[in-house]
Amino acid sequence: MKKALGTLALLLAATALVSGCDKVKQNVGSGKAEIKDTAYPEKVLWGDTHLHTSNSVDAFGFGTRLGPEEALRFARGEEVTATTGSKAKLARPLDFLVISDHAEGIGSTKALYDAPRMMITDPQLLRWYDMMHASPEESVKAMGEMLAVRASGKPNPAMSDKEAAAKRTTKLWNEHLNTVERYDEPGKFTAFMGFEYTLMQTGNNLHRNVIFRDGKDKVAKVEPLDPADAKWPEHLWDYMDAYEKNTGGKVLAIPHNGNVSNGLMWMMTEPGGGPMSAEYARRRAAREPIVEVTQIKGDSEAHPFMSPNDEFAGYGTSGWDQANLLGNIKTKPEDLPGSYAREALKRGLLIEQRTGVNPYAFGMIGSTDSHTSLSTTEENNFFGKHTGVEPSAKRATAGFVPGVNSGRMNWQSLASGYAAVWATSNTRHAIFDAMMRKEVYATTGSRMTVRVFGGWDFKTEDLKADWVKAGYARGVPMGGNMKAGGKGPPSFIVSALKDPLDGNLDRVQVIKGWVDKNGVAQEKVFDVVWSDMDGKRKLVGGKVPAVGDTIDLATASYQNTIGAPELSTVWSDPEFDPGQRAFYYVRVLMIPTPTWMAYDMVKYKLALPPEVPLRQQERAYTSAIWYTPA
């Protein structure tokens, strides 16, 4: 035996040599072009901060065989072959991409799939293994079973071999960083390093995407963090603190899908109970500057329950407001306020009033959360949430996870969204810094351009000259804080331009939230500029008439004969009270256009049940501008 152990030492030495080979590989990221930043952001950049590839446990289980390299090629505009065999290409490339594979069990489904069958002794694992190898449909079912086991809180111990997982993670992460580095091309296309921290409490979604500002030299010093038994995000913030301290790099986190958190995403209290402290609020605000408010799994901007007077509040909430992410706990009405961003912005003001710190002064972006390696949001070129629902005649009426009764239908998926970033160059540092200062906005996929500036002396005449320069010189852009002490009400330059390949604009709204003198948070939606406002759409009883509808369902098409290509105005708050803290953000609505289901209906000649929505108004949500009394 002694001799055997000596042999072992030798073998370990040999193993060390083998694993060392990755480190020898040269840093392919070196020699990148130096890009000059502009004085202020001149061009909006489009990207997706939330994309899964075959390295994600569930994405692989759902069937995707495309890895990070294909994901990057696709995002930068190249044609790839989707897992289900069809050719896939974006109408326009993206400017940046964050591949955010789940840290938990990264690569483990693929490892199970690749494992020698005879080494799998656990009957449950063997069953999943055989299902994954049997057919794509069976694979989706296997994934559904894996998620159900996860929701039960009793994971299969054979699946959680920590040591094997750690080894796998190290190898995969290193390969992944090499790939990302190879595709990051400053000035042309930015590839970020990141991962998803899939924090979950018995199925309640507390997920965060983590994005690094740095290259492999720094990021390789850490590995993606598995939430394991963590219940709250402080575990992640500790990891982020340590990363910055040890490497001198920078990292941020983006919470997403408050809509399926059952009220836990934006609580008034601290995790342990009791009112939120200033210290906790400060930490959250610093670590989580922006939030993903719209994606395939629904929209988390606003809900009619809290915003009964907002006729546009129910977008993308259907199906997602009934239960938490895994569908194992029903959502109660009192859970809703903690699940939607507008309410969170209001809660932020209340907490700030009490503690002096606003934990929820976040900016807003959209992203896809696609699990196909394909970042798509175009309604007529939508590859779905996962490979089981890539384009097919069946998908519009399939369950959200086909073959698994999740209570959600696939038609409740939105072809949404993208992150729009006002950065000073297309580089990691400039995009990251714009996210930190929240000069970003969300869209449901349409690429409309939106600018907002808040100040004390903006006049309509400003629009006749270089108003962008004036905006930066005399005010703050979206995501900023207005300095108190200006005279009169705050005024806002708001300018929105349609996507050159998409529908006209219906209207631009300012959504104001404030704390009234009784200490109660309030909200109001102001229509500030809309198409044909001096003509056919004059106010009726103080209300803007609907823009109309040009959709032809027989051909899934629409006409840009209604709405306007651009809408600009200078608006000042008629109800301003200098003693009340407030926020203002802009919502832009497009004219009605067909949903992806309407395109499927024409393409596959389907008869769809009446509950499937065929028309929608796509939209943009900007980050807010905040006002704090002196």
Binding site: M1, A4, L5, T7, L8, L10, L11, L12, A14, T15, L17, V18, C21, V24, K25, Q26, V28, G31, K32, A33, K43, V44, W46, E69, G77, R92, P93, P116, R117, M118, D130, H133, D161, E163, A164, K167, R182, Y183, E185, R447, T449, V450, R451, L463, K464, D466, W467, V468, S495, L497, K498, D499, P500, L501, N504, N560, A564, P565, E566, S568
Partner: protein, 275 residues
């Protein structure tokens, strides 16, 4: 290339690592590795070492004597069944086994391509073969004034404003979050902001004078092109990253295809189907 360079390059090859590790095991240990074909199952120090190693990988400690005995018992059982199953041909027609073997063969073929680093001459040849793919977009520098959506009224306005511009007067447009001037914009940048029709229209506009109205996905514009840089010949230094990515993807696909073709040569594939 010096001997040292060669040696360094060689040391990066995973296959070499594998061979070195294998050779070390073989050299140090007496005896020979077990042969799958024969009806003799040998548990020697190499086997026990490998079992202990696997245990160590999972638990970060060495197995106890009892545990090692258990691992060996399990190994023997595995081998008995495995060899007997092969003898009985149970692997035949098992789709899972077939696919698993195929994947192993495929991944063997690509390992080299993934780690290899191409020479400059190889990359240059790729550029020379398809220079258009790596050619920088033509760059256009222009001023534009946005007039709003396309309508007879806007078109009339455009004509009047164009006259003023050509007469040297400044003219304002409709406020919109659009840059008034783009410096060295690529075709894809222009199409992203204005749509393809606008990019195409600008290709033929004479330089140095205001023209219009030019239609875009946003409406109508007056445009003055100041400069148009012809597509530059791609230099390896500028496009290395993209070429190398393409080379690697192609090398993996090629080595897989070649490997398959090579093996296929050893087989007669006979398709006996009635027409």
């Amino acid at each position: 290339m010096t001997f040292k360079d060669n040696a360094r390059r060689l040391l990066k090859e995973p296959l070499v690592h594998f061979l070195i590790a294998g050779a070390m095991v073989f050299l140090v240990l007496s005896g020979r590795p077990p042969d799958l074909g024969e009806r003799r199952i040998v548990v020697n120090e190499a086997v026990a070492g490998a079992l202990a190693q696997r245990f160590y990988d999972s638990f970060r400690r060495l197995p106890s004597q009892d545990e090692l005995d258990g691992l060996i018992r399990d190994y023997v059982t595995d081998q008995v069944y495995y060899r007997e199953a092969l003898r009985l041909g149970l692997d035949q027609g098992d789709e899972v086994v077939v696919r698993r073997m195929r994947r192993k063969m495929e991944s063997l073929a690509v390992a080299g391509a993934e780690a290899a680093e191409p020479d400059d001459s190889v990359l240059q040849a790729i550029i020379d073969k398809d220079p258009a793919r790596y050619t920088e977009d033509p760059r256009t520098t222009f001023d534009q004034i946005y007039l709003g959506g396309d309508s007879p009224q806007t078109r009339a306005e455009a004509d009047a404003k164009l006259k003023q511009l050509r007469g040297g007067k400044a003219v304002g447009g409709v406020p919109a979050p659009l840059p008034a001037r783009l410096e060295g914009a690529s075709a894809s940048e222009m199409s992203g902001t204005f749509g393809d029709e606008f990019t195409l229209a600008l290709r033929n506009l004479p330089v140095g004078q205001w023209h219009g109205p030019v239609a875009s996905g946003l409406g109508l514009h007056l445009v003055k092109v100041d400069a148009r840089a012809a597509p530059s010949k791609p230099s390896l230094a500028n496009v290395r990253q993209r070429v190398e990515n393409d080379w690697r993807a192609a090398a993996i696909a090629k080595s897989q295809a070649e490997n398959y073709a090579r093996i296929l040569k050893g087989y007669d594939v006979v398709i006996e189907l009635n027409k």
